[in-house]
Each structure stands twice: as structure tokens, then as C-alpha cells.
Amino acid sequence: MLNSRFIKYLLGSCRDLAPIFAVVLIFQLLIIKQPLPNLADLISGSLFLIIGLTLFVQGLELSLFPLGEDIAYDFARKGSLLWLLLFAFCLGFSAAVAEPALVAAAQKAADIASQGNSIDATETAKADYALGLRVTVALSIGIALIIGVLRIIRGWPVYYPVFIGYLCVAVMTPFAPKEIIGIAYDAGGIATSSITVPLVTALGVGLATAIKGRNPMTDGFGLVVFAALMPIIFVMAYGMAVL
């Protein structure tokens, strides 16, 4: 039984990678028509990607998702407001810290920043900068979930906090260091990925199911967008403080 499930995840990760490889292959064969350098590395790296994605998704489905979704529902149903908000913060913070795409992107950002002499070119400085970025993003997602949960409980329209967020972004951008703006705007999209989105959606839908007069289909959504918006504001602030 475990085997058939493993094969399902294996096919799933192949399907995730397939569109990228298909597009690259078509461009290589029909348009660029140049030999690919380091083909051996590319192939073994792709195998690593497939193995990694398969194990990762299988592990999430076995452990984090069933547990996390159960707790999210439980808290939404009977938790006191204080515990609920604390849980929402911890969930958002810790899911963002674990997000692999953010790990990789923060490292890239640190490499680029040290090449551009924004930070020292030592490994320590780069590791500190990358960790600082990730913790900033994680904090902002935790806070975003607190606001999002309050919104669902109070029944505010979804666009109020979104518009206020847009306004903050627009006001802060001219004052932020230019080197941080790109990565700040990207941070939200990067961090709302494989771990954060399912857990956050479970929390939102669970809450909207539990509260009378809320529709899980409509009120349950709209949490992820705060989680994607808040990091822009926080990372720009981080840039002002650090660079």
C-alpha cells in the first residue's frame, strides 16, 4: 500500500517538473540549437530533484498536513481567541522558516548582495543576511495570519487589509534601499509555497466553517494574500535597517 502511494508521489513530482523541462527542451531543440554543457550534472541534479520532491511531499502528507490541518480545525472550533492568535502566529512563522524555496532564494539573494558589495563577502555575513531575511519573512507571515484570522472572526471585507497593505507598500518603496526592493517584492510569492499554503488554507477554511454566518467557500480564502503581501513591507523595513 505504501508502495503504490510512493509511486503516486513519484509521478506527481515528475508532473511538477515536466512543464519546465518540456519548455526548456523545446527551446533547446528548436530555437537555440546549441549543445547543453554539463549534461551529466543536469541529469543527476534532476534525479535529485525528483527524489527530493517525492520524499518531501510524501513526508508532508504523512505527518505535517494531517496533524496541522486537524489542529487548525480544532483551534478554529473551540480555541479561545488568545490561543488561536498565538497558534496562527506560530504556524505562519514556523511554516515560512521551513519553506525550501525561501531557503534557496535567500541564499541567492545573499550571494548577489555580497557580489554587489552591499554586505561583506564572507560566508558568515552571507549566512547572517540570508537568515535575517528568512526570519523577517517568517515574522511578517506570522503577523499576517494574526490579522487574517481577526478579519475572518470580525467579518471585515477581504479587501480592506489588502488595500491598506498596498498603500503601505506604495508609501515605503521610495524610501527603501534600491537593492532590497526586488527581493522584498518577491519574498511574499516565494514564501507562500508548498508548506505554508495548505496549512494556512486549512486554518482559514476551518475558521470559516466554525463561525456562524461565515461561508467557508468565500471567507476561508484571503489568508494567503496577506501572507504574500506582508513580507514586502517587512523586508523593505529590514533593508532600511541593515543596508
Binding site: I20, I32, L55, A98, I181
Partner: protein, 293 residues
Amino acid sequence: MIDELMQFMFKLFEIGRDNLPTAATISDSLRNGGIIAGLINFVLTLLATCRDVLPIAATIIGFQLLVIRRPIAHPRKILIGFISVLLGIVFFLKGLDMALFPLGELMASQLTTPEFLGVAVLDETVSWQAYFWSYIFAASIGFATALAEPSLLAVALKAEKISGGTIRAWGLRLSVALGVGFGIALGVFRIVTGSEFYLFILGGYLVVMIQTRFAPKLILGLAYDSGAVTTSMVTVPMVTALGLGLAEAVPGRNPLLDGFGLIAFASLFPIIAVLGYAQIAQWLNKSHLSSKS
């Protein structure tokens, strides 16, 4: 109990923070040094990943035991799951470094060689039209990955239910994919021309705000979320590498200032596309109804 747990977590975090920079140095100098170096590298990445996954494990298990006060069902299954997540992340990060990042950079550099662009020298006089294939490539990557994204399929089915069939799952997926493709292509155009990045985004925000005023209210939350949902952990590295590679290759651009930002485009334009699609679907439905009656 909570105190002990917190202290334990804090200690681990500190150990990780103090040791990782040196770990990174070691792995760098040993990168091309054979199996033992590879093994050391593997263990170091595994340790760093343990540190990253610890908070979410502690949050979920801690709240389960301390607040909900319910023993964990199937502890063995959970343990296997966590180990599987750890190993999966390590392999995935290694694969990114070996395949996906190089592939993105390679595409960026091959699409911008002077021979490929058909110009004698690559300098700032090369017009933005010359980078034609870069836009097409960026759009194809965005469109294909978004269309194949499984979480988007789930969201699209929910949207079809919410709207009572006015919004079709396929129409929604197609509009998100078009939004992502257009967004990334526009982002590449911005890298090539070097125009101000945030003006595009703020312009996009403005469009979203105007659309919000008119769009069906039921679909708002879903439409807002659709942007962030489609940037998966496979798309992000590829698109990031493409942006950095282009900023490196195009004369007059600087990876530090221009390299990032494509993901922001990829998560904003689906919102506009979905709101637009919902609007059109509503109009069509209304005129359909009125022609019936």
C-alpha cells in the same frame, strides 16, 4: 514543560547559527573534492534542514500535546513522515543547485548571446525587440507551470462550486496561467528596458483596486489568493535564476538592482486575470439570462 521546550529550541537555533557559517565555508572548499566531501556536505545540509523544520514540528506537536491535550495518533507514521520531509528537502536543495538554477542561468545566457540575438556586439544600443525569444520563453515557462500546478486545480474546482457554475474551472486555470505567463514576460521586458520596477507593480495594484470595486464579491478572496498559490517551489528557483541570469547578461543591468522581481509579477497578474475572468463570466451569464427571459 513549555519552558524546557522553548529553551531547547532556542539552544538548537543558537547552535545552528553559530556553526552554520563555518559549515558553509567547509562545504565550499570541499565542493569538488569527491565522495567524502559530498557526504560532509550532505550531513551539513541535513543539520541545517533539521534546524529549519524544527519550529513547525514543535508548533504542531507542542500545541497538540499542551493545548489540545490529545495524544498523537500513529506516532510511527508521523516520525517516518518527518524524516522523509528532512531527506526530501536535502535532496531537493542539492537538485536545485545542480539542475534548476544552472538551467535557468544557462537559458538566460544562451538567449542573450550576440549570435543568437543577431547583433554584432551586445551593448546598450540593442533594442528591446531583439530579446523577442526571451519574452516568449518567460511566458511559456509561466504558462506551462501554472497550468500544471495541482494546488491551482483544487482552487479552481472550489471556485466553480462557489459561483454555482458561472465560473468554469478550466476558464479559471487558463486565466491564471495566462496571467502568470504575461506577468513573467512583462517582468523580463522590464529587466531588458531597465524601467522602474515598482511603477509596474503599483500600476498593477491600482488595476486590482479598481477591479475589486466591480468584481463579484464572492470571488474576491479566491482571486487574491490565486496569485500566491501558483508560485510553487519548482517555479520559484527557475524564474529567479532566469531573472538573475538576464540581469547579468543584458548590458547596463545589475543583478543586485534588477535581478529579483519576476516572482512579484508572477503573483500579481493572476489576480488581475482572475478578477477579469470573473467579471466577464458574470456579464456573459447575465446577458444569457436576460435573453432567456
